[in-house]
């Protein structure tokens, strides 16, 4: 009979029930969308902040000081210490390999042009295609790591271009000085070889790079006679903002206790990623670029906090909205409930009936709202970040508990009113 009454209530009052379900669906979709976005916004903004370039630099041990100190700004490597090119792939095998968004090796040398001018050359990856042993495919290099460069003429150098011509990119100042244009062919004389290169593009970097020439890594190594050797690596990694533990570890990992060390090693702090890179690249020193790493942490934290607060506001809004409607719709049914009381229904029976009805409705609403919410989250993800928002499994229980709690709270004033209702008053239409 109980089930029959509930079925009847649904059937007869489907309009009202649909409205409750609709409101609950709205609230649930709001909660789902906001929670999903909030939980994923860190990763997304982190990706965006990659625009600032590398946050870790790796150099051979010992050279970090010497080269820049004695040459006073010239990047000629005089110490003879190099990193090994064959070890580059190992960066993608560290514990936090998944957080390595991008990286590029650099080799620096001086070249002579036909007119006798010397120019600074950097060999690097542009859009170097990596097929990792893990099966991951990745295009790494300066094309993505120097997102602030404006290519003012021509195009970015494409390493996959198989026209057979050797290519190069030239900085704006150098191009102006030497009268170079995109498409020109330039003769470069290195210390051990020479080459004809086609200039694919002229870039404006707004810095020292504007007077340099950028060529693919293997060409640079040939010209300078540095086969298999690299001067430095820039790494762009997704990191967790530093805390006290990370700072302590950054100074000296051996000062940590075993459990602290575990925590630190297994968290994507910039210092632990540096540490792990040093483990795989022999004789290297990896250090955090504070300008990028620190600022990233701050902005990430602020954005997340902002989203958390907006999420809380919308959750409160959704909760009050649902509460309100449940109260309003139960109050509306006072006449029917007065009748049930008149024919001898107990308060408990009536409460159970009303609660079951509302909760069945809420269940349907939550299910619909959950999927609608995922849809909203994806709209936000694709519009803002051009990528899907990953929905964390923990959103499901949070939304369910939230809706259940809110619905229950919404029923309380209504049920208290129903229980104090006197059947005669209701039936006489007062």
């Amino acid at each position: 009979m109980f089930i029959r009454m509930i079925a009847k209530a649904f059937f007869r009052q489907w309009k009202k029930m649909a409205m409750i379900a609709f409101t609950i669906a709205l609230g649930a979709s709001l909660a789902t969308a906001m929670l999903s976005v909030m939980l994923d916004v860190g990763d997304k903004v982190n990706q965006e902040l990659k625009a600032y370039g590398a946050n870790i630099t790796v150099v051979p041990k010992g050279t970090s000081v010497l080269s820049s100190l004695y040459e006073m700004g010239e990047d000629e490597n005089i110490s003879g210490a190099y990193l090994k090119e064959e070890e580059l792939g190992k960066i993608k095998t560290i514990f936090w390999a998944f957080n390595i968004a991008d990286y590029a090796p650099f080799v620096n040398a001086e070249l002579t042009l036909d007119n006798g001018d010397t120019v600074k050359m950097r060999g690097t990856w542009f859009n170097h295609h990596l097929s990792l042993p893990t099966g991951e495919e990745l295009d790494a290099g300066v094309t993505s790591m120097r997102s602030w460069w404006d290519v003012i003429a021509g195009d970015w150098l494409d390493e996959q271009d198989d026209s057979g011509l050797m290519q190069a990119m030239v900085g704006r100042d150098l191009a102006e000085k030497e009268g170079l244009h995109a498409g020109d062919v330039l003769h470069l004389q290195g210390s051990s070889a020479d080459a004809e290169v086609k200039i694919t593009g002229i870039f404006d970097a707004g810095g020292d790079e504007d007077s340099e020439i950028y060529v693919p890594l293997d060409l640079a190594q040939d010209l300078a006679g540095l086969e298999g050797k690299i001067d430095s690596i820039e790494v762009s990694a997704l990191t967790t903002p530093d805390n006290e533990l990370a700072e302590k570890a950054a100074k000296d990992p051996s000062s940590l206790s075993v459990s602290q060390y575990e925590t630190w090693y297994c968290t994507a702090y910039v210092s632990s990623i540096c540490y792990q890179i040093e483990e795989v690249i022999s004789d290297s020193v990896a250090s955090a670029v504070r300008q990028v790493a620190d600022s990233e942490g701050q902005i990430l934290e602020k954005t997340q906090l902002l989203m958390v607060l907006i999420t809380i506001l919308s959750l409160i809004g959704a909760a009050l909205g649902i509460c309100n409607l449940v109260t309003a719709s139960v109050m509306e049914r006072s006449q029917e409930i007065g009748l049930m009381k008149a024919i001898g229904a107990h308060n408990i029976a009536i409460t159970a009936l009303v609660l079951t009805e509302i909760f069945c409705t809420a269940l349907i609403g939550t299910a619909l709202g959950f999927f609608a919410g995922i849809g909203f989250a994806q709209i936000i993800g694709h519009t803002v970040f051009q990528s899907a928002i990953s929905v964390k499994p923990m959103v499901v229980p949070i939304v369910i508990v939230l809706v259940a709690l809110v619905t229950l709270v919404g029923c309380i004033p209504a049920i208290r009113m129903l229980q104090s209702l006197r059947p005669t008053e209701v039936l006489h239409g007062r």
Partner: protein, 233 residues
């Protein structure tokens, strides 16, 4: 006397149900008519059609010589406002307005609300002292008397009452019937739908409906038109 209200071959059909089946009826100016019949006989349908609350499927309804059967909903609203006073079994008072405000509501839609006049109307039904009470503070009889006051405030040509005593005890029933008698004395045309023979037999004429048709029509032999003296509190 000319007929104030005349129904000619009026039918109301809901799907396959003939709620009213070719009913013809005349109500003279100043007449007091009772309509009786068992549940489902078409009483309320007839009442709604006469009261311009609902439209007939076919037939002519002449009120004051004007056919209202084909009028638009808007025109019917105006007819209700100007010519008809309604009294319901369920009272239908606005719960958040006081007795006098409920009476004024009717004036408000008709013309201009006048509190003095509304209070006078309540005095006529013996509720002057309860004018500032809310419906929930009044007894059933008192609520129905407010409804009577509300129905007569705009001097309608005809007052329609649908089971006016259906929710009242005997004492209150008598009071309401007395009010009707007084209104009749004053020349108001009254149509009362009821299934209570005691209420019906005080009217001038009674028609009995069955299955949407007029089954029989009787003129009340005991009709005196006299006012019994009872005190209204």
């Amino acid at each position: 006397m000319s007929a104030l209200l005349e129904l000619k071959n009026v039918s109301k059909i809901y799907g396959s149900l003939h709620a009213l089946d070719h009913v013809s009826l005349k109500v003279e100016q100043g007449e007091w008519l009772a309509i009786m019949g068992p549940s489902g006989s078409g009483k309320s349908t007839m009442m709604n059609i006469i009261g311009a609350l609902d439209k007939a499927t076919e037939g002519e309804i002449l009120l004051d010589g004007v056919d209202i059967a084909k009028k638009t909903a808007k025109a019917l609203t105006e007819i209700r406002r100007d010519k008809i006073g309604l009294i319901f079994q369920q009272f239908h008072l606005v719960s958040y307005l006081t007795a006098v405000e409920n009476v004024m509501l009717s004036q408000y839609y008709h013309s201009v609300p006048d509190e003095k006049e509304a209070l006078e109307a309540l005095e006529r039904v013996g509720l002057k002292e309860r004018a500032r009470h809310y419906p929930s503070q009044l007894s059933g009889g008192e609520q129905q008397r407010v409804c009577v006051a509300r129905a007569l405030i705009n001097y309608p040509e005809i007052i329609l009452a649908d089971e006016p005593t259906g929710n009242l005890d005997e004492a209150n029933e008598e009071i309401v019937v007395e009010l009707f008698r007084k209104l009749h004395e004053e020349g108001t045309t009254l149509v009362v739908v009821t299934h209570n023979p005691e209420v019906a037999e005080v009217a001038q004429r009674t028609i009995v409906l069955r299955n949407g048709k007029v089954e029989r029509e009787t003129v009340n032999p005991n009709f005196t038109g006299k006012i019994k003296h009872i005190t209204l509190q």
